[in-house]
Symmetry: C2
Subunit: 325 residues, 2 copies
């Protein structure tokens, strides 16, 4: 009997769905639009129909199969209550009891769990990825924002209210850049992909860098991939963007180490594809900020989750994690 | 049968010892010098003799009593190994296997455990103090340095190597003040008692504050109690020291909240005796740095451990915590 879990990743515009086996292989994947109409009941119906369709196709391929449950990654996802709470980028307002609503659609599944996308990625890393066998680690996801998931003694830390692991909102620079959350100087404002773009524009302004390969791009055009491509060609601005981003990120990672003393910190997301450009200054900066007892002890590693499927795979990992309990 | 635990707090110059009951009452206390000779075997012998003497006097008072074990708080204490590792302020060099050495002296006790002093204080708060019944909280101890203890799901977080909970070394100000650990801009350099003194001297220099009540004290004379006394009298420099210390501390507490989402953060130590002078700006600053989902949710509370006995009581609490396991 082959065992499967459903992974659902709810984003602002798209909801990705996948059927995942115990080794983290995605057998079928698909998705529906995350609606802008705000009607949660309609959305849950559409979501359930899409999930059933996908299970059907997996069952055709593997007649001896069993689906054990559904794991969901969602912005502002609260594990304790199975709710999405006041997510600014979704059309569903207030507190959405998504796990209860899905349980009504799938009473046959014992394991239904929800958390935010970065927590799901951390669980994915633990169940399928580079953190297998690690009991204390932290995962940072660098993308449009910066998320994180904290694992202590083999369990994800949800904290008192279910929202722990928002390391992207530690303060790096007092009275620094505006963060999307309304506060100032947060890590996310510097180390997300848009944060890197902001750094590039600051540097071009500072040096009056008319000869930079980035100097012909508008603020809305420039992205972190272009900065990487320019760095590969030796563009001074682009190289300094990576130096500075690493310096900022390393400061934040050191704060995390001082709180939690993890075995490793995993980095996931677009900017990490730049390899040494980002890892080298990050590790240097982290080490410079650490207490002597932590120096040269903490591994900073690229995530082993494949970029395309990580969100689905991470969400599905929630099911295997629930099974352990 | 009354049950007791021994609490030992090892400081740079003095080792405090107490016999503590299940409610956190200290029945007998005393101590020996922490030696400067660096001979750990002699120290363990002296310590064991002092502990035995104290147990004898408790047994005289309570013939029907049982001592269950020994808990130790020590700088750079490693819970996992029962060791003190490279403590800069002790004369014992390298890695000291203190728990093993004490077990040889007290084979009759099942529960012997060691951690650093701030972790011990956090366990004390959980077992005897204001954190009774809380499963997720953090304790900051403000003194000569700034220590901390992190509790997640009812257990102290030791991390991968036993040294978690060094929140005093999060970076508040990039390239800021020199910290005693060698790095720059750490919280401890701003929010410890000496940190407050440094702020007072910076402010006097900035304003050329010849009329401040603090202006007649030398750098080596001034302490946080004097700053408090001056603040009570309305001294502008002293009041601004508390404002700034709270601003710095609140930034650090927000970083802690974003990592761990605790129910409460407890503050312990000399500077917290200033009450609203320190708590008000700390809470205001923390709130200003928080993500909306955390705002107005996290309690910042004074420790309920009595200042004089907290170190002994915290260390003894390790024994009751081990008993739970």
């Amino acid at each position: 009997m082959k065992k499967f879990a459903i992974g659902i990743d709810i984003g602002g515009t798209n909801t990705a769905i996948g059927v995942v086996d115990e080794d983290g292989n995605v057998l079928v994947k698909g998705g529906i639009d995350t609606p802008s109409h705000g009607d949660i009941n309609q959305y849950v119906k559409d979501l359930a129909a899409a999930v059933r369709e996908m299970i059907k196709s997996v069952t055709l391929l593997n007649p001896e199969s069993e689906v054990l449950g559904i794991g969901i990654g969602a912005p502002n996802g609260n594990y304790y209550n199975g709710t999405i709470e006041y997510a600014p980028n979704l059309s569903f307002k207030g507190v959405i009891r998504l796990v209860d609503l899905l349980k009504a659609q799938f009473p046959e599944y014992k394991y239904l769990a929800l958390t935010n996308d970065a927590n799901a990625a951390a669980i994915g890393e633990m169940v399928y990825g580079g953190a297998k066998g690690m009991r204390n680690f932290v995962m940072y996801t660098l993308g449009t924002g910066v998320g994180s998931g904290v694992v202590v003694n083999g369990d994800l830390v949800y904290g008192h209210d279910g929202f722990a692991g928002e390391c992207g909102h530690t303060t790096l620079i007092p009275n620094g850049r505006m963060c999307g959350c309304g506060a100032r100087g947060h890590l996310e404002a510097y180390c997300s992909a848009p944060g890197m773009k902001r750094t590039a524009f600051e540097l071009m302004a500072h040096y009056n860098a008319t000869d930079s390969l980035l100097a012909d791009k508008s603020f809305n055009e420039l992205n972190s991939k272009m900065i990487y491509d320019a760095a590969v060609k030796g563009d001074k601005i682009a190289l300094e963007v990576f130096e500075l981003t690493g310096k900022y990120l390393g400061q934040g990672l050191a704060d995390t180490v001082h709180h939690l003393s993890p075995e490793a910190i995993f980095l996931f997301g677009g900017p990490t594809a730049a390899g040494d450009f980002i890892f080298k200054p990050t590790i240097e900066s982290m080490e410079a900020h650490l207490l002597p007892i932590f120096k040269n002890k903490i591994k900073v590693l690229p995530s082993k989750l494949s970029a395309g499927d990580a969100a689905i795979v991470g969400a599905s990992a929630l099911v295997w994690k629930e099974l352990e309990k």
